[in-house]
Symmetry: C2
Subunit: 183 residues, 2 copies
Protein backbone atom coordinates (compact mmCIF):
# COMPACT_ATOMS: atom_id res chain seq x y z
CA UNK A 1 0.00 0.00 0.00
CA UNK A 2 1.30 3.49 -0.80
CA UNK A 3 1.51 6.05 2.01
CA UNK A 4 -1.68 7.64 3.18
CA UNK A 5 -2.62 11.21 2.44
CA UNK A 6 -5.34 13.44 3.82
CA UNK A 7 -8.59 13.51 1.87
CA UNK A 8 -11.17 16.33 2.19
CA UNK A 9 -13.94 15.00 4.40
CA UNK A 10 -16.48 16.11 1.80
CA UNK A 11 -14.93 13.51 -0.55
CA UNK A 12 -15.62 10.38 1.50
CA UNK A 13 -18.59 9.62 -0.77
CA UNK A 14 -16.01 8.53 -3.36
CA UNK A 15 -15.14 5.62 -1.07
CA UNK A 16 -18.44 4.89 0.70
CA UNK A 17 -21.16 5.54 -1.89
CA UNK A 18 -20.14 2.47 -3.98
CA UNK A 19 -21.27 0.37 -1.00
CA UNK A 20 -18.22 -1.46 0.34
CA UNK A 21 -18.11 -3.51 3.49
CA UNK A 22 -16.15 -1.56 6.09
CA UNK A 23 -14.44 -2.33 9.38
CA UNK A 24 -15.50 -0.11 12.26
CA UNK A 25 -13.03 0.32 15.09
CA UNK A 26 -13.88 1.73 18.50
CA UNK A 27 -12.48 2.26 21.97
CA UNK A 28 -13.89 3.00 25.40
CA UNK A 29 -12.55 2.64 28.93
CA UNK A 30 -9.47 0.68 27.84
CA UNK A 31 -11.43 -1.73 25.66
CA UNK A 32 -11.20 -1.74 21.86
CA UNK A 33 -13.21 -3.57 19.23
CA UNK A 34 -13.64 -3.99 15.49
CA UNK A 35 -16.86 -4.91 13.70
CA UNK A 36 -17.71 -5.64 10.08
CA UNK A 37 -20.42 -3.35 8.74
CA UNK A 38 -22.42 -3.34 5.51
CA UNK A 39 -25.44 -1.19 6.33
CA UNK A 40 -24.30 2.41 5.90
CA UNK A 41 -24.97 5.39 3.67
CA UNK A 42 -23.55 8.80 2.92
CA UNK A 43 -26.01 11.45 4.14
CA UNK A 44 -24.37 14.79 3.36
CA UNK A 45 -21.21 16.30 1.84
CA UNK A 46 -20.75 19.24 4.26
CA UNK A 47 -20.83 18.50 7.09
CA UNK A 48 -19.62 15.06 6.01
CA UNK A 49 -22.34 12.78 7.39
CA UNK A 50 -22.60 9.00 7.35
CA UNK A 51 -25.53 7.00 8.72
CA UNK A 52 -25.23 3.34 9.70
CA UNK A 53 -26.81 0.48 11.56
CA UNK A 54 -24.90 -1.01 14.49
CA UNK A 55 -26.76 -3.89 16.08
CA UNK A 56 -27.20 -3.58 19.82
CA UNK A 57 -26.13 -7.25 19.98
CA UNK A 58 -22.66 -6.22 18.83
CA UNK A 59 -19.92 -5.66 21.40
CA UNK A 60 -18.98 -2.47 19.52
CA UNK A 61 -22.44 -0.97 20.13
CA UNK A 62 -21.71 -0.02 23.74
CA UNK A 63 -18.20 1.23 23.02
CA UNK A 64 -19.40 3.48 20.24
CA UNK A 65 -22.48 4.72 22.04
CA UNK A 66 -20.54 5.61 25.18
CA UNK A 67 -17.49 7.10 23.45
CA UNK A 68 -19.65 8.80 20.78
CA UNK A 69 -17.03 8.03 18.17
CA UNK A 70 -15.56 5.38 15.89
CA UNK A 71 -13.27 4.98 12.89
CA UNK A 72 -14.66 3.65 9.62
CA UNK A 73 -11.85 1.72 7.88
CA UNK A 74 -12.02 0.60 4.24
CA UNK A 75 -10.56 -2.88 3.68
CA UNK A 76 -9.48 -4.15 0.27
CA UNK A 77 -10.32 -7.54 -1.20
CA UNK A 78 -7.07 -9.13 -0.04
CA UNK A 79 -8.38 -8.75 3.53
CA UNK A 80 -11.49 -10.86 2.85
CA UNK A 81 -10.66 -13.54 5.40
CA UNK A 82 -9.99 -10.90 8.04
CA UNK A 83 -13.30 -9.20 7.21
CA UNK A 84 -15.15 -12.51 7.54
CA UNK A 85 -13.29 -13.45 10.71
CA UNK A 86 -14.08 -10.13 12.36
CA UNK A 87 -17.75 -10.49 11.43
CA UNK A 88 -17.95 -13.98 12.92
CA UNK A 89 -16.30 -13.38 16.28
CA UNK A 90 -17.09 -11.08 19.18
CA UNK A 91 -14.97 -8.51 20.93
CA UNK A 92 -16.54 -9.68 24.18
CA UNK A 93 -14.32 -12.77 23.89
CA UNK A 94 -11.22 -11.77 21.92
CA UNK A 95 -9.01 -8.77 21.23
CA UNK A 96 -9.63 -8.44 17.51
CA UNK A 97 -6.53 -6.38 16.77
CA UNK A 98 -4.33 -9.05 18.36
CA UNK A 99 -6.30 -12.03 17.08
CA UNK A 100 -6.29 -10.89 13.44
CA UNK A 101 -2.81 -9.36 13.49
CA UNK A 102 -4.01 -5.84 12.72
CA UNK A 103 -2.10 -2.68 13.58
CA UNK A 104 -3.88 -0.11 15.75
CA UNK A 105 -2.70 3.41 14.97
CA UNK A 106 -3.74 6.44 17.00
CA UNK A 107 -6.37 8.67 15.48
CA UNK A 108 -6.11 12.45 15.65
CA UNK A 109 -9.60 13.41 16.80
CA UNK A 110 -11.10 10.32 18.43
CA UNK A 111 -10.00 7.68 20.94
CA UNK A 112 -10.80 4.83 18.55
CA UNK A 113 -7.72 3.49 16.74
CA UNK A 114 -7.25 3.38 12.97
CA UNK A 115 -6.61 0.03 11.29
CA UNK A 116 -3.31 0.61 9.48
CA UNK A 117 -3.82 -2.25 7.00
CA UNK A 118 -6.96 -0.65 5.52
CA UNK A 119 -6.89 1.49 2.37
CA UNK A 120 -8.67 4.44 4.00
CA UNK A 121 -9.60 5.59 7.50
CA UNK A 122 -12.39 7.96 8.43
CA UNK A 123 -12.48 9.35 11.96
CA UNK A 124 -16.08 9.82 13.03
CA UNK A 125 -17.93 11.57 15.83
CA UNK A 126 -21.51 10.71 16.71
CA UNK A 127 -23.58 13.80 15.94
CA UNK A 128 -27.13 12.47 16.16
CA UNK A 129 -28.25 9.48 18.17
CA UNK A 130 -32.00 10.12 18.00
CA UNK A 131 -32.69 6.90 16.06
CA UNK A 132 -30.40 4.58 18.01
CA UNK A 133 -33.07 3.26 20.34
CA UNK A 134 -35.62 2.69 17.60
CA UNK A 135 -33.46 1.42 14.72
CA UNK A 136 -29.85 1.07 15.99
CA UNK A 137 -29.18 3.90 13.51
CA UNK A 138 -26.16 6.13 14.21
CA UNK A 139 -25.43 9.40 12.40
CA UNK A 140 -21.73 10.25 12.36
CA UNK A 141 -19.76 13.23 11.13
CA UNK A 142 -16.47 12.34 9.45
CA UNK A 143 -13.98 14.74 11.05
CA UNK A 144 -10.80 13.47 9.40
CA UNK A 145 -10.24 11.31 6.34
CA UNK A 146 -7.11 9.72 4.93
CA UNK A 147 -6.50 7.18 2.19
CA UNK A 148 -3.63 5.47 0.44
CA UNK A 149 -2.46 7.66 -2.43
CA UNK A 150 -2.61 4.69 -4.80
CA UNK A 151 -4.38 2.85 -6.29
CA UNK A 152 -7.06 5.38 -7.12
CA UNK A 153 -9.65 2.60 -7.32
CA UNK A 154 -8.88 -0.08 -4.74
CA UNK A 155 -10.53 -3.48 -5.01
CA UNK A 156 -13.29 -3.37 -2.42
CA UNK A 157 -15.66 -6.01 -1.02
CA UNK A 158 -19.44 -5.71 -1.27
CA UNK A 159 -21.54 -8.10 0.81
CA UNK A 160 -24.38 -10.01 -0.84
CA UNK A 161 -25.54 -11.99 2.21
CA UNK A 162 -25.24 -15.75 2.50
CA UNK A 163 -21.47 -15.57 2.90
CA UNK A 164 -20.92 -14.22 -0.64
CA UNK A 165 -19.07 -11.07 -1.63
CA UNK A 166 -18.89 -9.09 -4.85
CA UNK A 167 -15.46 -7.65 -5.62
CA UNK A 168 -15.43 -4.22 -7.28
CA UNK A 169 -14.93 -4.44 -11.02
CA UNK A 170 -14.11 -2.16 -13.91
CA UNK A 171 -14.49 1.62 -13.89
CA UNK A 172 -16.55 3.49 -16.50
CA UNK A 173 -16.55 7.28 -16.79
CA UNK A 174 -19.54 9.20 -18.11
CA UNK A 175 -18.19 12.55 -16.90
CA UNK A 176 -18.87 14.24 -20.23
CA UNK A 177 -22.59 13.44 -19.88
CA UNK A 178 -22.94 15.22 -16.53
CA UNK A 179 -24.09 18.76 -16.03
CA UNK A 180 -21.21 20.60 -14.30
CA UNK A 181 -23.23 21.26 -11.15
CA UNK A 182 -23.90 17.52 -10.80
CA UNK A 183 -20.21 16.62 -10.61
Amino acid sequence: MSRKVDVPVSDVRRFLEPGPVVLVSSADRGDTDIMTMGWLTVMEFTPSLVGCIISSANHSFGLIRRSKACVINLPTADLIDTVVGIGNTTGAEIDKFAHFGLTAEPAVHVAAPLIAECHANFECRLVDGCLIDKYNFFIFEVVKAQAAARPKHPETLHYLGGGAFMVSGRIISRRSKFRPEML
Copy 2:
Protein backbone atom coordinates in the same frame (compact mmCIF):
# COMPACT_ATOMS: atom_id res chain seq x y z
CA MET B 1 -34.01 -10.43 -19.04
CA SER B 2 -35.71 -13.52 -17.66
CA ARG B 3 -39.19 -13.20 -16.20
CA LYS B 4 -39.52 -11.66 -12.77
CA VAL B 5 -40.39 -13.66 -9.69
CA ASP B 6 -41.40 -12.60 -6.21
CA VAL B 7 -38.59 -12.29 -3.68
CA PRO B 8 -39.16 -12.34 0.09
CA VAL B 9 -38.96 -8.72 1.26
CA SER B 10 -36.49 -9.78 3.94
CA ASP B 11 -34.08 -10.69 1.11
CA VAL B 12 -33.74 -7.24 -0.46
CA ARG B 13 -30.39 -6.82 1.30
CA ARG B 14 -28.98 -9.23 -1.31
CA PHE B 15 -29.60 -6.54 -3.93
CA LEU B 16 -29.15 -3.30 -1.98
CA GLU B 17 -26.39 -4.01 0.54
CA PRO B 18 -23.71 -4.20 -2.20
CA GLY B 19 -24.39 -0.50 -2.81
CA PRO B 20 -25.76 -0.14 -6.35
CA VAL B 21 -27.12 3.03 -7.85
CA VAL B 22 -30.91 2.69 -8.06
CA LEU B 23 -33.70 4.41 -9.94
CA VAL B 24 -36.54 5.62 -7.74
CA SER B 25 -39.93 6.01 -9.36
CA SER B 26 -42.82 7.91 -7.87
CA ALA B 27 -46.31 9.20 -8.64
CA ASP B 28 -48.66 11.76 -7.17
CA ARG B 29 -51.71 13.62 -8.50
CA GLY B 30 -51.19 12.41 -12.06
CA ASP B 31 -47.49 13.31 -12.15
CA THR B 32 -44.73 10.69 -12.23
CA ASP B 33 -40.99 10.99 -11.88
CA ILE B 34 -37.79 8.96 -11.76
CA MET B 35 -34.62 9.91 -9.94
CA THR B 36 -31.16 8.36 -9.69
CA MET B 37 -30.16 7.57 -6.11
CA GLY B 38 -26.90 6.46 -4.53
CA TRP B 39 -27.32 7.33 -0.87
CA LEU B 40 -29.30 4.47 0.68
CA THR B 41 -28.84 1.70 3.20
CA VAL B 42 -30.62 -1.39 4.39
CA MET B 43 -31.83 -0.81 7.97
CA GLU B 44 -33.65 -4.02 8.96
CA PHE B 45 -34.60 -7.46 7.63
CA THR B 46 -38.10 -7.71 9.17
CA PRO B 47 -39.83 -5.40 8.66
CA SER B 48 -37.78 -4.82 5.51
CA LEU B 49 -36.51 -1.27 6.03
CA VAL B 50 -34.45 0.92 3.72
CA GLY B 51 -33.22 4.42 4.58
CA CYS B 52 -32.22 6.93 1.91
CA ILE B 53 -31.50 10.57 1.16
CA ILE B 54 -33.76 12.35 -1.33
CA SER B 55 -32.69 15.95 -1.87
CA SER B 56 -35.47 18.48 -1.43
CA ALA B 57 -34.18 20.08 -4.65
CA ASN B 58 -35.31 16.97 -6.54
CA HIS B 59 -38.70 16.96 -8.28
CA SER B 60 -39.30 13.49 -6.83
CA PHE B 61 -39.06 14.82 -3.26
CA GLY B 62 -42.55 16.31 -3.26
CA LEU B 63 -44.14 13.37 -5.04
CA ILE B 64 -42.67 10.88 -2.59
CA ARG B 65 -43.35 12.96 0.50
CA ARG B 66 -46.97 13.56 -0.43
CA SER B 67 -47.74 10.04 -1.70
CA LYS B 68 -45.69 8.44 1.11
CA ALA B 69 -44.44 5.81 -1.33
CA CYS B 70 -42.02 5.01 -4.12
CA VAL B 71 -40.53 2.10 -6.05
CA ILE B 72 -36.82 1.36 -5.82
CA ASN B 73 -35.73 -0.14 -9.16
CA LEU B 74 -32.37 -1.84 -9.70
CA PRO B 75 -30.81 -1.03 -13.10
CA THR B 76 -28.06 -3.12 -14.67
CA ALA B 77 -24.87 -1.80 -16.25
CA ASP B 78 -26.34 -1.81 -19.77
CA LEU B 79 -28.64 1.01 -18.60
CA ILE B 80 -25.74 3.31 -17.65
CA ASP B 81 -26.65 6.05 -20.12
CA THR B 82 -30.25 6.00 -18.92
CA VAL B 83 -29.09 6.19 -15.31
CA VAL B 84 -26.87 9.18 -16.11
CA GLY B 85 -29.56 10.85 -18.18
CA ILE B 86 -32.15 10.51 -15.42
CA GLY B 87 -29.71 11.96 -12.90
CA ASN B 88 -28.97 14.97 -15.08
CA THR B 89 -32.50 16.02 -16.00
CA THR B 90 -35.50 17.06 -13.94
CA GLY B 91 -39.01 15.73 -13.86
CA ALA B 92 -40.19 19.33 -13.53
CA GLU B 93 -39.36 19.72 -17.24
CA ILE B 94 -39.71 16.28 -18.86
CA ASP B 95 -41.65 13.04 -18.52
CA LYS B 96 -38.76 10.73 -17.75
CA PHE B 97 -40.56 7.51 -18.70
CA ALA B 98 -41.33 8.93 -22.15
CA HIS B 99 -38.01 10.74 -22.62
CA PHE B 100 -35.89 7.70 -21.79
CA GLY B 101 -38.17 5.12 -23.39
CA LEU B 102 -38.86 3.27 -20.15
CA THR B 103 -41.92 1.13 -19.51
CA ALA B 104 -44.09 2.04 -16.52
CA GLU B 105 -45.80 -1.03 -15.05
CA PRO B 106 -48.41 -0.83 -12.32
CA ALA B 107 -47.28 -1.74 -8.84
CA VAL B 108 -49.45 -3.84 -6.53
CA HIS B 109 -49.30 -1.86 -3.30
CA VAL B 110 -48.32 1.69 -4.27
CA ALA B 111 -49.34 4.26 -6.89
CA ALA B 112 -45.76 4.67 -8.13
CA PRO B 113 -45.03 2.64 -11.27
CA LEU B 114 -42.36 -0.04 -11.63
CA ILE B 115 -39.67 0.38 -14.29
CA ALA B 116 -40.00 -2.79 -16.35
CA GLU B 117 -36.47 -2.59 -17.79
CA CYS B 118 -34.85 -2.87 -14.36
CA HIS B 119 -33.59 -6.17 -12.92
CA ALA B 120 -35.56 -5.81 -9.68
CA ASN B 121 -38.38 -3.67 -8.29
CA PHE B 122 -39.08 -2.96 -4.64
CA GLU B 123 -42.39 -1.34 -3.73
CA CYS B 124 -41.90 0.94 -0.74
CA ARG B 125 -44.10 2.75 1.75
CA LEU B 126 -42.80 5.62 3.84
CA VAL B 127 -42.90 4.45 7.46
CA ASP B 128 -40.89 7.13 9.24
CA GLY B 129 -40.38 10.69 8.05
CA CYS B 130 -39.00 12.12 11.30
CA LEU B 131 -35.62 12.95 9.72
CA ILE B 132 -36.89 14.37 6.42
CA ASP B 133 -36.84 18.00 7.51
CA LYS B 134 -33.41 17.80 9.12
CA TYR B 135 -31.54 15.49 6.70
CA ASN B 136 -33.83 14.70 3.74
CA PHE B 137 -33.69 11.16 5.16
CA PHE B 138 -36.63 8.86 4.34
CA ILE B 139 -37.23 5.48 6.00
CA PHE B 140 -39.21 3.10 3.80
CA GLU B 141 -40.64 -0.36 4.31
CA VAL B 142 -40.34 -2.64 1.29
CA VAL B 143 -43.80 -4.18 0.98
CA LYS B 144 -43.27 -6.17 -2.21
CA ALA B 145 -40.12 -7.28 -4.01
CA GLN B 146 -39.59 -8.92 -7.36
CA ALA B 147 -36.51 -9.64 -9.44
CA ALA B 148 -35.55 -11.31 -12.69
CA ALA B 149 -35.01 -15.01 -12.05
CA ARG B 150 -31.65 -14.88 -13.84
CA PRO B 151 -28.86 -13.91 -13.72
CA LYS B 152 -28.38 -14.51 -10.00
CA HIS B 153 -25.72 -11.80 -9.91
CA PRO B 154 -26.62 -8.98 -12.32
CA GLU B 155 -23.98 -6.46 -13.33
CA THR B 156 -24.81 -3.41 -11.24
CA LEU B 157 -23.51 0.18 -11.23
CA HIS B 158 -21.88 1.78 -8.19
CA TYR B 159 -21.33 5.51 -8.25
CA LEU B 160 -17.92 6.93 -7.34
CA GLY B 161 -18.70 10.62 -7.84
CA GLY B 162 -17.16 12.77 -10.56
CA GLY B 163 -19.14 11.01 -13.29
CA ALA B 164 -17.43 7.63 -12.72
CA PHE B 165 -19.07 4.29 -12.01
CA MET B 166 -17.71 0.99 -10.76
CA VAL B 167 -19.32 -2.06 -12.36
CA SER B 168 -19.83 -5.05 -10.09
CA GLY B 169 -17.13 -7.68 -10.53
CA ARG B 170 -16.45 -11.26 -9.56
CA ILE B 171 -18.24 -13.15 -6.77
CA ILE B 172 -16.36 -14.87 -3.95
CA SER B 173 -18.05 -17.16 -1.44
CA ARG B 174 -16.78 -17.56 2.11
CA ARG B 175 -19.94 -19.30 3.29
CA SER B 176 -18.02 -22.10 4.98
CA LYS B 177 -16.29 -19.53 7.22
CA PHE B 178 -19.55 -18.12 8.60
CA ARG B 179 -21.23 -19.18 11.81
CA PRO B 180 -24.68 -20.53 10.83
CA GLU B 181 -26.53 -17.76 12.69
CA MET B 182 -24.60 -15.14 10.73
CA LEU B 183 -25.86 -16.39 7.35
